[in-house]
Structure formats: structure tokens, C-alpha cells
């Protein structure tokens, strides 16, 4: 037995056999799958293999979906008691749990994220979201919005590609629990789990038209946003598009919630528990390939521990496994699309040109597919573009600070305000910092933790409204006082 044999993990692939992907999909309207017109491919970003042909929703499709949603709302869903609505949501949650593995594999194939993440994070949270909201359907009078809050009607929901099924759950579950019906458009590059979800709706015998899924691209989304038959828009995506939507609906009566971008500060004080902090930094920016709106993309290190933390961070990054998302031991998977990869490469090049020092561990990246090695830039300051602009990839900008007040000032010095991290073993300082930070979600000695009971959303240009928890319900109900 050699004394220094490396423990190479043999390939541990999850089997694809559990999923059946049709060669072509239409839309899900009025409880049925209906054919689409034009089609475009959805690919596996790890291999560039074409998985299926997806329908590009046009005006007729969106019209049909909104009509079906309105009919279902008026005739069925708004007449049904909360008790019965809740039971449909419980059924959906339970079927998602039953088909969890199938969903996880499909999500990984379509999105490029590691199977471990789909299996252990995305899918369980999505099912939990339905289970939680199922229980609100007949308890809305306790939500703090009056004795009998009313739904808004038909919600148009547009979701991103980074957590496809989970974002669907965050949108559909509260909408339905509150009594609305929905027209949902999954992201262009990740429609497959939404289409499988449509099958779950059928298995749950959800009344036709309560959930409608129209696939497509940005133009499809615009049709939904601008449709006069929509009462409420819920959008998760870039701040840029969020502003376009806000302007578009301004002259209308539509309600809007927006969950947009971020450039979160992850603040490490000198009394942080170092090893767990390093894990938190890694998790904060490399989890889901950094495709996370609330990613801890600005590391703010207290200057007196910066060297030690960076040293440990680099050692830890050497152990990150980048590769085949279907391998159970992969930590970081593929970048979701060619377009996104180009953006990341461009902004990383900006970092170089701005004089920040780039470092990545040695990584063998596959030949096909879209890949970017986990990367850190040190010597970054607030005036750098890479400290200001959202990269949405596995790239960390590292800055330093001297005092707690300076840390807060730097953390808040951004138009974004989605999330922040605080690492310290001193409770009073952690609470003080959380009080000062202008961010909607603050993680202390942890990061990227989500729960259906915990409201999520941003300050400032990171969006409007919250999702999850009691607070998240108000996005789908008419309060007593609002006009």
C-alpha cells in the first residue's frame, strides 16, 4: 500500500433512465398540453446536447392562457373554499416528493447544476414551498391583511433559469394558496421541469386553467406583462428588465412584485469561526455556479485577518470539484448558457484590466459545454466595476475594511440591497451589523439558506416585495386599505 496514494473518486453518475424527455413540447393551457407554433431547442449546457424542442409562445398562446386562467378563476378557483384549494396544493407537494428524483435529474440536465444540489436543495425546497403554502389557503384571515383578504385574480409570472423548479414553486404556491390563477413562463433555457410540473398538476387533478405554462423567450414574457387580462405581475430576473416591467405597468392597475439582482457583501470580522467562515464564503459564491441573485459576491475581510482567510480560502478552493453535473460528487457544474458564459468572461476580463489580481485553482474543464473555473479577485475596491456590477457567475471580488462602521458603509454602498452575510462569534456585533445593513435577507454565520417560512426579497434596486412566509402572501392578496 503506497503511503501517499491520492483518493481519486471514481465516476459516480446518477442514472438518466428515470426521466423521459419528449422530443417536442407545446404549452400547458386549460389543463391540457396543446401544440405550439415555432420551436427552439433547449440544451444540456454541460454537453451542448439538444434535449428537446420547446414552443415559442406568441400572442395567440398568451391570449389562450390568460383566457383559460380567467375562466378558471371566475368559475372555479375563486368560488372554491380555501380548505379545498389547500388540498390541491398538498397533493401537488406530495406528488413532487414522490417524483423528486425524476425532477432532480431533469433539472440538472436542463440547467447544468450538480445533481447533488438539485437532489438535496432545489427539489426538496420546492416541494416544501408547496406544502407550506397549502396550509395558508384556509388561514388567510390570520395573515395580518384583514379578516377576509381577497386574491388579485390572474397572475402573470416570469421566472429565471437559475433555480427553475424552485422559482416556479416560489411563484405558483403562494399565488394559488391566496386564490389566484396563474400564467407562468419558465426561462428560455430551462423549461423542462416546469413542463413536468404541468404533469403533476394533472396527476393532482388540479382544475383546468388554474395553472397555465407558456414557454418562450423575452418576447413571450413581454406579451404576458403587457396583457390587459393580467391583474398581477411577478418577475424574478435582472434589475434591468425589472425596471422595464415597472415602467410598462405604471399606467395600469396591475400589482407588481420584483425579485431582481444583487451584489451582496459577505462581511468577515476578525472573531469569525474561521473554518466555517471559509465554507460560507465558498458556499456564498460558488454554490449554483454563482448563478444566485443573493450570492455573496463581495467578500469584505477585516484587514487584520485578510491574509489568513485568503490563504485558507485558496486551500479550500483547491478541493472544489468542477465537472459533470450528473456526477454525484460534483460541486460546481456548468454555466447555464453560452450567453451567460460570455458575460462572465467579459466581466472577469474587466477585473483584470482594472488591476485586480485574479486567482483560480487548477481545474480540468470539459471540452464541450460551458464552463468557468471558480475565481477570486483580490485587491478589489468599491470603485472597481467588478465590485459594483452583478457578474452572476463563480467570481468573487475581495475587498478589505478596518472597522465595523467601514464594513457597513462599504456593504451598503450599492444600489442593490438583496442580501448580506456577517461572520463573527460576537452576538451583539452580529445584531448591530444586521441592524445597519440595508438588505432584505441577512445571513449570520451561514449563507444561502432558504425556507418557505422565511421571507425573501430586496431593498432598493433589488426589487419590490417578499416571497415566502406571512409577508410573502401580501403580494397575492388585496389588502383592505390599498386602492
Amino acid at each position: 500500500m503506497e503511503t501517499t496514494m491520492t483518493f481519486e473518486y471514481a465516476p459516480a453518475p446518477e442514472s438518466r433512465a428515470i426521466v423521459t424527455i419528449k422530443p417536442k413540447y407545446g404549452h400547458f393551457i386549460g389543463g391540457k398540453f396543446v401544440p405550439g407554433g415555432k420551436h427552439f431547442p433547449t440544451i444540456n449546457p454541460a454537453t451542448e446536447e439538444v434535449l428537446s424542442q420547446i414552443a415559442l409562445g406568441g400572442k395567440a398562446d398568451v391570449d389562450a392562457a390568460v383566457k383559460a386562467a380567467r375562466k378558471a378563476y371566475a368559475n372555479t378557483w375563486s368560488k372554491m373554499s380555501g380548505k379545498e384549494r389547500g388540498k390541491y396544493l398538498y397533493r401537488i407537494a406530495r406528488i413532487m416528493q414522490e417524483r423528486a428524483r425524476e425532477f432532480a435529474v431533469l433539472e440538472t440536465l436542463d440547467n447544468g447544476k450538480p445533481i447533488r444540489e438539485s437532489r438535496d436543495t432545489d427539489i426538496p425546497l420546492a416541494a416544501a414551498h408547496f406544502f407550506y403554502h397549502a396550509g395558508w389557503a384556509d388561514k388567510l384571515e390570520y395573515a395580518g391583511l384583514g379578516t377576509s383578504p381577497k386574491p388579485l385574480g390572474v397572475a402573470g409570472q416570469i421566472i429565471p433559469w437559475n433555480f427553475p423548479l424552485l422559482m416556479l414553486a416560489w411563484k405558483v404556491a403562494p399565488a394559488l394558496a391566496a386564490g389566484n390563477t396563474v400564467v407562468l413562463k419558465p426561462a428560455e433555457s430551462t423549461p423542462l421541469t416546469a413542463l413536468l410540473f404541468a404533469e403533476v398538476c394533472q396527476q393532482a387533478e388540479l382544475p383546468a386553467g388554474v395553472v397555465n405554462i407558456v414557454t418562450g423567450d423575452g418576447s413571450t414574457g413581454a406579451l404576458i406583462v403587457n396583457h390587459p387580462g393580467i391583474d398581477k405581475i411577478a418577475f424574478t430576473g435582472s434589475t434591468e428588465v425589472g425596471k422595464i416591467i415597472a415602467r410598462a405597468v405604471a399606467p395600469t392597475n396591475k400589482s407588481v412584485t420584483l425579485e431582481l439582482g444583487g451584489k451582496a457583501a459577505n462581511i468577515v470580522f476578525d472573531d469569525a469561526p474561521i473554518d466555517e467562515t471559509v465554507e460560507g464564503i465558498v458556499n456564498g459564491i460558488f454554490f449554483n455556479q454563482g448563478h444566485v441573485c443573493c450570492a455573496g459576491s463581495r467578500l469584505l475581510l477585516q484587514e487584520n485577518v485578510a491574509e489568513e482567510v485568503l490563504h485558507k480560502l485558496k486551500n479550500r478552493m483547491e478541493k472544489i470539484r468542477v465537472g459533470d453535473p450528473m456526477d454525484k460528487n460534483t460541486d460546481v457544474g456548468a454555466i447555464n448558457s453560452k450567453e451567460q458564459l460570455a458575460k462572465i468572461i467579459e466581466l472577469a476580463a474587466v477585473g483584470d484590466s482594472e488591476g485586480a489580481e485574479r486567482w483560480s485553482p487548477a481545474c480540468t474543464l470539459p471540452n464541450k459545454g460551458f464552463w468557468f473555473a471558480p475565481t477570486i479577485f483580490t485587491g478589489v475596491t468599491q470603485a472597481h466595476r467588478i465590485a459594483r456590477e452583478e457578474i452572476f457567475g463563480p467570481v468573487l471580488s475581495v475587498l478589505t475594511f478596518r472597522t465595523p462602521a467601514e464594513a457597513i458603509e462599504k456593504a451598503n454602498n450599492t444600489p442593490f440591497g438583496l442580501s448580506a452575510g456577517i461572520w463573527s462569534e460576537k452576538g451583539s456585533r452580529t445584531l448591530w451589523a444586521s441592524q445597519q445593513l440595508r438588505a432584505g435577507v441577512i445571513w449570520a454565520n451561514t449563507f444561502n439558506k432558504f425556507d418557505p417560512t422565511s421571507p425573501f426579497g430586496g431593498y432598493k434596486e433589488s426589487g419590490w416585495g417578499r416571497e415566502g412566509g406571512r409577508h410573502g402572501l401580501s403580494g397575492y392578496l388585496k389588502g383592505v386599505s390599498h386602492e
Binding site: K83, G86, K87, Y90, A128, F131, Y132, A134, G135, W136, A137, D138, K139, Y142, P404, G427, S428, R429, L431, W432, Q435, P452, T453, G469, R470
Partner: protein, 280 residues
């Protein structure tokens, strides 16, 4: 029409996830509405109560530490199992109480839906009963509602199944464990319900069900120093005063309810308020 002989069920107690007979060896007769013999359920003794409390106490830390999500899923599972066996429950209720099939069906439906309703409270009651409090000082101050421990309950004589659910579910939603005395005249649904519990991933000891006489068991519940609270909704109001006097020995929280609402859950929770300074 065959002359097949039924295999009749023996009704025992449900303690610590198992089905023991009463340690006293006693039973009592249950006749149906027509006066025909149906079964000999156990006549629980104070020692059975004692054993049930031991089981409930042992089960409390684990059940209390389980996530609200987990508790909710188990409550929902109980509803799934009950729904699957609704026919048996309807038949049993009709036979023993003599109410019509339509009424029995309605009761069973309500019981299932009530369980689902409580299942949805586990992860929401904290939103209602907890708070952060804006004290006049540099402190983070928050109130968390917590379970109390072991709660004993007396279920109403009727409705025998729905009343039992209302006696049990609000107590365990928040993490308490429970010892419940079922309806005396119509105890069989309670024991069949115990079979549902045994197939619902419910940890042993979280729910314990006794059958017997209220006048015998209630005073022992009231005086037991390791029971934290009582739900005496099923006890005649004439007897409440005596129970409260006995319960004062360890200051049990004693409540009686007329209906189901979240207050019923909160009544069996304690509010804990924490102060923590905010500063560098």
C-alpha cells in the same frame, strides 16, 4: 349469503406506540345503539395513565425538536391514512352511536379536513404567536412561543371522532405530547384511530390514548405532577372546579374549548422572550 364468522377486533390501549391491555386487566362493555354487545374495550387505570405520562414525557424532547415542517408532514400523513380508511370509521360510528350514515360520513370528512387544517398550522403558529418587540433600548428583543411538555386531554363524548381530533391535534401541533382519554360510551373510533397513528410515522409516545371512565381518570390527571397542562373540554363543567383545585398543585395550565381555532394551539404554548444587546 355465506355463514362466514367474522374475526372480531380486540380493542386495547395505545401507549408508547404499542397496544397494551390495561395493567388492571379490567374491561367494560360497549353496546351499540340497539343495545347489542359490540366489544370489551379496556377500562384504563391510574397506572395506565402513569405509564402513558412516562411515555409522553420521554417522547417530548424529540417531538419538540423536530422541525415544524416535519410535524406538519406527519399530521398530514395521519390525514392520508384516515382518508384511506374512512369507510371503516363511518361504519364503526354508525354502529356504536346510532347516528345516520350521512351524519357519520360528514363527521369523518370533517375529522380528516380538521387534521389537514392543523397540519398547516405547525409552521405558521409562530408567525401569529411570536414577535419581535421594539423595546426602548439597544436590545434585540423577540418572543418565541414554545411547547409546554406533556398535556393531558379529555375528549368529549360526542362527536366521538371529531372531538378526539380536536383534543389531540392542537396540542401536538406545537411540539407537546399528549395523553388523551377517549369518549367513554363510544371509544372504538379512538382505538381504530390509534391504528391510523401507528401507520403514520408518528414517533412512539407522542400520542397516547386511553379508554375508560372520566370520573376515575380525570382526578389522577389533575393531580399528576408531571403533566404540564390539561384540556378538559370533554369534562362536564360541573367537574371543572375540582379539577382546577387539584391542578393548582403544580400550577397546571387548564383550558376548556368550544371550537377549533389557533387559540387552541396557542393556549398550550409558553411565550419565551429573549433580550440581546445590539452593539459593537
Amino acid at each position: 349469503m355465506s355463514n362466514r364468522i367474522d374475526v372480531k377486533k380486540t380493542y386495547k390501549l395505545y401507549i408508547n406506540g404499542a397496544f397494551p391491555r390495561s395493567e388492571s386487566g379490567r374491561t367494560y362493555e360497549v353496546k351499540n345503539a340497539k343495545g347489542v354487545f359490540v366489544a370489551n374495550p379496556c377500562l384504563a387505570s391510574r397506572k395506565d395513565l402513569r405509564d402513558a405520562v412516562v411515555a409522553a414525557r420521554a417522547a417530548h424532547p424529540g417531538w419538540n425538536k423536530a422541525t415544524a415542517y416535519n410535524r406538519g408532514q406527519i399530521l398530514y400523513r395521519i390525514a392520508e391514512m384516515l382518508e384511506g380508511r374512512r369507510g371503516q370509521f363511518v361504519e364503526e360510528i354508525v354502529n356504536v352511536t346510532g347516528i345516520t350514515k350521512v351524519k357519520a360520513d360528514k363527521e369523518v370528512t370533517q375529522a380528516i379536513d380538521r387534521l389537514v387544517w392543523y397540519a398547516g398550522w405547525t409552521d405558521k403558529i409562530a408567525s401569529l404567536a411570536g414577535s419581535t418587540n421594539p423595546v426602548a433600548g439597544p436590545f434585540y428583543n423577540f418572543t418565541i412561543p414554545e411547547s409546554m411538555g406533556v398535556v393531558a386531554a379529555i375528549a368529549p363524548e360526542s362527536p366521538s371522532l371529531l372531538g378526539l381530533i380536536d383534543a389531540i391535534a392542537p396540542i401536538i401541533t406545537s411540539g407537546n405530547t399528549v395523553v388523551v382519554l377517549a369518549s367513554t360510551k363510544a371509544p372504538l373510533s379512538a382505538m381504530t384511530f390509534a391504528e391510523v397513528l401507528a401507520t403514520s410515522d408518528l414517533p412512539a409516545g407522542v400520542i397516547n390514548i386511553l379508554t375508560g371512565k372520566k370520573d376515575e381518570i380525570a382526578p389522577w390527571m389533575a393531580s399528576h405532577m408531571d403533566i404540564d397542562a390539561l384540556d378538559i373540554s370533554g369534562l362536564s363543567s360541573k367537574k371543572h372546579a375540582d379539577i382546577k383545585v387539584a391542578g393548582a398543585e403544580n400550577l397546571k395550565r387548564i383550558h376548556s374549548f368550544k371550537s377549533a381555532d389557533p387559540g387552541r394551539i396557542i393556549a398550550f404554548m409558553e411565550a419565551k422572550t429573549v433580550w440581546h444587546p445590539i452593539g459593537l
